[in-house]
Symmetry: D2
Subunit: 425 residues, 4 copies
């Protein structure tokens, strides 16, 4: 423990949970070989020496491995939870006890506590913010203008956060560079598609233990997360319906063999509904009215706003918890709608979030993105930057190597051909 | 027919084939509702009035529908074949006879004739070139510098062509704008992925009538075409191996559940090999040496250079045609390797190329891309431009509508949410 | 040629087609290693010495390999076509010219000719009938009672034929043993499921060249053929609806993730309809009335009775051929319905029937089934017998070996465990 | 509670868990509409009036619903656990407290306790035994010959149990009829295939939280359970290898697109191994030696004998628990092998067993099978009987109805066609 008298140095549920947390952090580390290699390099090169860094993220075993890598790189790092329900208290305890990293996160903390933690994070006067949903950055920009000069930049890994950063940029509120980790290919492939796909269904199964085969599952949104969820739902034997607002995404869903229709039509057909749109009130009052008795509703988008729970409560006469994370609303009409995980990210509330192998890639992007910002301090104008392609390729290369795969290399002949445009038919 | 005395106005196999060609062009038109809507608008607005246009493309029923739309838009259009083996002679005949469009294309024409046709096309002094593989543009740039001033721009729809255009741009040889139709989402989804996927297997089946289930199929390349081919090969029950040179594409193939290995290792395992890389000599001498007796080899990349047939001939003692488009090479070692379609695009040589529904999208992009160039004449610096997002979305919208699908629209509330960055957890 | 003066020794289209037929028969033989091994053994053991044998089958390259194996085994074999549209005239020619086997089959022969050929086959006074749809046996039983004493038995490989044989058995009309090749596992897996699945889609694509991805395909029947067709249709990117009359098959389709509904509801949703039920008039007048404009209708069941073409003709004002094997009916209501292959087996009319690798297994079952009947002459009471399990396993073993696969064998320890019932938890 | 002085009336962990158990039993009941309909009929008809019945099964929420249905039917029923690790203590408590059913089952009970419970069950002097793995019947036959006269029959739902019953039959030890619930179609489709498929992966994910996409998963056995597991593993993005000893099953796996090889070869390739063979020591010492460092090994076959843990212990220097149900063995060679759930049924140890919807079908078969034995008391000779087809169809019909599906019925015309054999081509 590293507490000092002048301020509260951590806030976790129970330091006694540390031993279990440590074991779980190490187990996760086994599936994170890319981050491990980066940590080893950071320990040598100390790229974050003298840098104050705030990470706002789901406090899980994988985030722990990121935080450890950042600290190994010399960062004065502080960690807060990006979501009140996803904190693993044993991990938070171990980070404080075993690794000397200040953590402010408790599973089930209320909104007031969450916002207090955001303020504590900003009190740390960060140079780098590793954000997840853009709450720390948005608070900084709105409430701590005097700290803007401290900031080197931010990295952001959610679609939601990127949408907010771009809106800030449009409004002239973004005064520093942001690295868009979310759009890295090695993030998409693992995190949004494969991670969300598996862990969303995992969360639903753990919450309910229902059989997915033979069920009609409505997936709202066909972005990377929606694609992953729809693909895995089909892989488990479900009949999948996709809803969309973007015609290009919708036609892709059609071509992938899914049924596509508006939510108004899908509402009456689904056994299970999953929202992954990044937008609000995708499932609304009129949709609850149209659902089958006993329909299940879950969200796997970043914020708990995709399902309009107020509208549901308004038309319900009773709510009871029927299993952990599973609440049955009895509508005044007599039928019931079952809400999972209170409409929060189901993979984090009812399961364990993304598997470590997934976060290995996302957090490698976060770590290298943060290092890139520090290395290019002063050179980048305020903007939302993609991850440089070389970093993306490097991460893929490290991962393939760790998984034991080799691939082809271009021959000299092929390189020459690629660079030439005179050869034809 | 529109022949005039001063020069050869068309070169097709046999005008008597026109009636069958017309019937087939109309059948294809049924599956091309997007292009139909564009043609109707063109007929009203005449965006190509006074424009000389050369289209170099596979001369198929679908290209015919594009050519008809361009002519309806007022273009003085001339069509040549982009590939000696893919011409449908009845279609070429009908375009000349029934639609008054000069066509220079005969199935099986030799290289000399092909290059003569490119010259004839350039003699047309085009303002707009709709290209497929960049041969017309490359010839123009190298041999007809004096015609460069005529050019408004070019549209290009193959990966190969885009690679060549970018190399030209790097070398300062590209003096006019090029629209990259190949990277339109509505092109990818339909053409590279779904079109190539289905039609490549269709070509292999028509050439051989073999059962794909239970076979090990090696797909070289995991770009959009490779993804489509691998996905469909699995969908037909094959066990699929992917080879790649790009680590990001390779890790995506791994995550999609395919075996990934270098061609050196795959060569001994495959029953069927399909190249879709855009590069040369992806299957080389050492790979033929390692193959099983009776292995089948096909190409679905743009040029017939992906399989090193010279190396194969060099180590063979005999070649015989065992079915149409199917040649068995007997190696000196005693075993045989079977080459399909002489290593040319198998979906065009042994089957009918992309289905019309696919080309509907690609050619809608070509048509709107060409219109965009004309509308923005003089405003675009020499560069390779993506298709504007609005055109992409418009095409998707037209297609969904034609297929009878409706999708959601954002509510006012959701639009407001999307534009705001202050709301958070 | 083996013609003798006293009777017509063959009836084929054109003996000059023989060279191409021979080449194609040999190509097919490469994919039929199991039948090849059986033929080699037959040539040694001559199990059919002195046996008159009639085979009624689709006259394709694969059937040719079966006929050659039977003749190698000493049979006095005669071959007729089981379907007027499926005969490959070059194969028929080669069997007569190159292999000395009398064949009575011409592509497109009319019904009268077909029935004449059945009579000619019965004139051969067969001891063994290898049937496909039970027409030869049914004719024998009804019209040639005096020949019943010649008969050792029959083998039958279609669901339709088995249904008819069981009905005969029920009525007391079956006076000899029948071997049900159709229910062999090695038949199911290859022929009904994988063969019909691939070749049905192949037939539809060759007839129409349409893109299957994004289409809604209605598969009527979820037996082995229907399962294969539905699986492959999904594998090509279609959205698949299944109709059934059997609740067990229907629930399996549901659990496999397909939409299940009655044809009345499916009729309005499908872009393509495929019948594989073995029953008649599965698509009827009321269904045509409900279909979308331009819907495609194909049959892959044995007889051309699954689609009620009379009802369609009755409500149509016009029919025209729009491509080979593709007829567009214009309904009086104004919309059109497109019928493929005249409602006959689409994989045989528009494509080349089952791939050779498939028929290798089915015909190995036919050959061993016929041998089994001869070996057990006089020992089997009139009944429909399954293929003995040992033959089924032997065929699978030969196939795995030919494909280069090895599998595990039970250890002594495991054999002991399997035979014991006393060991428990 | 129904304890009486003369003997121990139940043995459960803690009756205070009953309220949670009751809630969970009711939640499961929602997904078991078929059993619900059967229970309602049983409550009216009382088919088990006067019958002493022992059920040996995994003591889960679903088994609870079966036990309640049997008791509703008048049975004097007693329940014991078929597996020491699968008991849900809250469910056991609720059955005793809330439903008055004697239960002898505690999660983690040792072997001695398990065998004591089998003896207590036999002390109940059952007329009907509903068995799961055949332990109660095997013990009865070996140790309680004097009770054989009490027995009306047994129902058995595992492959393992059926193998043992058939061995008993062969040895003349089976003196009463057994109904093979395991081979009911409605059992296969739901339980072995869809249930085992989903719940096996669920167990592995809960135990490890690893990402399945991109992993190589070796499935030993391609029976119904293996098919389901392989299908779902592919559906989650894994690359699947199948091992088999039966050539027919092996060729089916090949045709389904899986890699097939002996375990000797697969051992070095797998990241995760799953045994579902019903046989012993499928993974042995030599296989552990060949595995990658960190390979995961799990069993989903009935008994914990498929993985030779003795051989693994023998070559290990250390074992530690790294997560619940996850033990890491460090081999003397330095690498590690991770064993899940101690090699017991992973879906029951680490997850919650089959989803309720699955067990609805299996237990409907058990309930109707038991009723069938009682109704036919005295009429059935000692043998292993399949579930009558009518019961199978009835269960499918009830399920479709409960899920809201309708299907086609044969028309009069079609029925006549089906019964006729004279109509042909």
């Amino acid at each position: 423990m590293v507490a000092t008298p002048e301020r509260l140095k951590y806030e976790v549920k129970d330091l006694n949970l540390a031993p279990q947390g440590k074991q779980r952090i190490e187990w996760a580390g086994r599936e994170m070989p890319v981050l491990k290699q980066i940590r080893d390099r950071f320990a040598q090169e100390k790229p974050f020496e003298g840098i104050r860094l705030v990470a706002c993220s789901h406090v899980t075993t994988e985030t722990a491995n990121l935080a450890i890598a950042l600290k190994a790189g010399g960062a004065d790092a502080l960690l807060i939870a990006s979501n009140p329900l996803s904190t693993q208290d044993d991990v938070a305890a171990s980070l404080v006890s075993d690794y000397g990293i200040p953590v402010f996160a408790m599973k089930g903390e209320d909104n007031a506590t969450y916002h207090k933690h955001v303020q504590i994070a900003l009190d740390h006067r960060p140079n780098i913010i590793i954000d997840d949903g853009c709450d720390v950055v948005a608070t900084l920009v709105q409430q701590r203008k005097h700290q803007l000069e401290d900031i080197i930049g931010t990295t952001e890994e959610t679609t939601t956060g990127i949408v907010r950063l771009k809106a800030m940029l449009r409004d002239g509120a973004l005064t520093f560079p942001a690295v868009n980790v979310n759009d890295a290919d090695t993030k998409h492939f693992f995190d949004n598609r494969y991670g969300t796909g598996q862990s969303t269904l995992d969360g639903i199964i753990r919450a309910t233990n229902i059989l997915l085969a033979g069920k009609t599952i409505v997936v709202a949104g066909y972005g990377w997360c929606g694609k992953g969820t729809a693909m895995r739902a089909r892989g488990m034997g479900a009949n999948v319906i996709v809803t969309e607002i973007n015609p290009v995404a919708a036609i892709e869903a059609v071509m992938d063999g899914f049924q596509v229709m508006p939510m108004d039509a899908a509402a009456a057909k689904g056994d299970i509904f999953i929202t992954v749109t990044g937008n609000k009130h995708v499932i609304r009052g009129e949709h609850f009215d149209a659902m089958k008795d006993g329909a299940l509703v879950a969200n796997s988008g970043h914020f708990d706003i995709e399902i309009d729970l107020e509208a549901l409560k308004h038309r319900s006469s009773n709510v009871k918890t029927v299993r952990n994370f599973t609440e049955e609303y009895t509508l005044k009409s007599g039928k019931s709608v079952v809400v999972l995980g209170e409409g929060r990210l189901i993979n984090l509330t009812a399961a364990e979030g993304h598997p470590s192998a997934v976060m290995d890639m996302s957090f490698a992007n976060q770590a290298l993105g943060a290092e890139y910002l520090v290395k290019n301090k002063g050179k980048l104008t305020p903007d939302v930057y993609p991850i440089p392609t070389e970093l993306d390729q490097e991460i893929a290369r490290l991962k393939l190597q760790a998984m034991g795969f080799t691939i082809d290399a271009l021959t000299a002949d092929q390189i020459e051909y690629t660079n030439s445009w005179m050869t034809g038919t």
